[in-house]
Amino acid sequence: MSSLPAKSSGLWRQVISRPQGALALGLLAFLYLCALFAPFLAPYGPSDQDLQRTYHPPTALTWTREGLSVRLYKNSDPTQALYQPIPGKTAVVRWLPLGHPYRLFGLFPCRRHLFGVESKQKIYLLGSDSTGRDVFSRLLYGAQVSLSIGLIGISISLGVGLIAGGLAGYFGGWFDSLVMRTTELLMAIPGLYLLLALRGAFASQFSSGEVYLLIVIILSFLGWSGAARVIRGLALSLRAQTFVDAAIVTGLSPWRILWRHLLPNLASYLLVASALSIPGYILGEAALSFLGIGIQEPAASWGLMLAQAQEMKVFMCNFWWLLTPGAAVFLTVAAFNLLGDTLRDVIDPHFRTGNR
């Protein structure tokens, strides 16, 4: 089986030394930092409306004597959202202004934001939506949901898969049969229908936090079976390695063998599997929210934002900025897949030399 670099730091160094690995890790670090500092980076709250400025196009930036400024717009026809820049009129961008209060990391009360403009004007880096909310701010807040759902989901499903699959593979017998028949049952049902059925089984009037939790649980419930099957297979093949026999003869308890001998040898698989399956969760959340049964208004998530962009008006009037969450989903998914492929490339040669 695998003979990985003994220390995981060596693994990450190898990933970073490859251009695609460095790109993926860099991109992901950037995205997660954005999500982490969303309230600070976003000039507005996720649900701050401005009904005077619906479907506002991205505000152009210019350079004036006072410094970096945004152009100001005038809506010639409120029913049509025809915004025209007012020649010569700008508002200066202020750095670290005081704005609406928030808690950084949910802990530290704070009112400073990275940037903003005077309170009567608006800065819309990526335009505004149907109720005049800042798409850029919502994109950042939505990242918190969309990016964390993958991490939490994969931890749950791999955790369950690891326990169920690992024990099934190691002990075999009736527990193995039970786990395998259950996974087969789960995998036999088309995922989307199961998703809809499970969501439908619960009442819809949940708070957004509860809905978030529910989505994670539903997605993990669907996701663990695949992981459990692979892990069972790996555990079976590890079980056949003589070092496990040696550990038994030494007198180690089954739990200790699982913990000290099987788990470290599964680590490489778990790493690759996590990177490659996180996109599934992100897309799953996006799909649920897009269908209107995921994250609910006024909270933000990329899927929900995309759902709102499907109005006919958006396409008719070419409000392209409302599709930026799609680009964000694309970037994240691509970065995770790139990372997973790189990890596999780095680990695979070790599998090969380990077999000799």
């Binding site: 089986m1 695998s2 003979s3 990985l4 003994a6 049969s177 390695q241 003589t242 070092f243 026999d245 040696a246 550990a247 038994i248 003869v249 030494t250 007198g251 180690l252 308890s253 000290r260 001998h261 470290p264 040898n265 680590a267 030399t353 380990g354 000799r356």
Partner: protein, 260 residues
Amino acid sequence: MLLEVANLVVRYPLPGGLFFRSRRFVEPVKGVSFRIRAGRTVGLVGESGSGKTTIGKAVVRLIAPHSGEIRYRQERIDGLSGARLHPYRKRVQMIFQDPHNSLNPRLSIARILGEPLEIHFPALRAQERRSRAADLLRRVGLPSDSLDRFPHEFSGGQRQRIGIARALAVEPELIVCDEPVSALDVSIQAQIVNLLQDLQQELGLAYLFISHDLAVVEHMSDEVLVLNEGRIVEAAPPEELYRNPKNEYTRKLLAAVPSL
């Protein structure tokens, strides 16, 4: 008498049946009896599929016998399981054939050797365990600075020495050697055979030495058991087996040994 095996039978059910175990089974060991005295070596020779490895695994209780008795110092150990096997595990150890997968690739040598010490000598402090592990390495002829290295940094012969050190860690009385030199070059095989003989002299170990190579078994053993299709077909001291083989199968094994 250190170990007594009487009428040992090992059975495996054949796979099949959706929910219930199938009633068909294979029987790799069909009623085998032998004894090992303290400090002596019993050799077990036979071809692949003769059941020799299965006997070794049954003796160290990696598998449970179907029927028959295994007594260690008069005590029945064939029915024990779990924690009740613990005292036995300190007395009887095993060395495995394939030096490449008998050591966990993710553990350092210090941890591989420290593990049996942790289990069977819980009073030892980490520092004492480490110095004992270094002693073990010296004893099997490896430099003690190998402690912080990992299995893949060693050659096949060196890994087999580490496997021997791991077996020695618990200070056993009997070691089951399952084809310990079959995967090694002849030149390395000689080193390991000599090492096992030296350790036997020093520590008074008993061996159950399993191999398909009669020349090696004969070299190591005080008594040789010839195993064919799960049954012992001949048991004799090595000189006698060589000079006067009684069984047809023994003669076939003897004829197969290349002569120089």
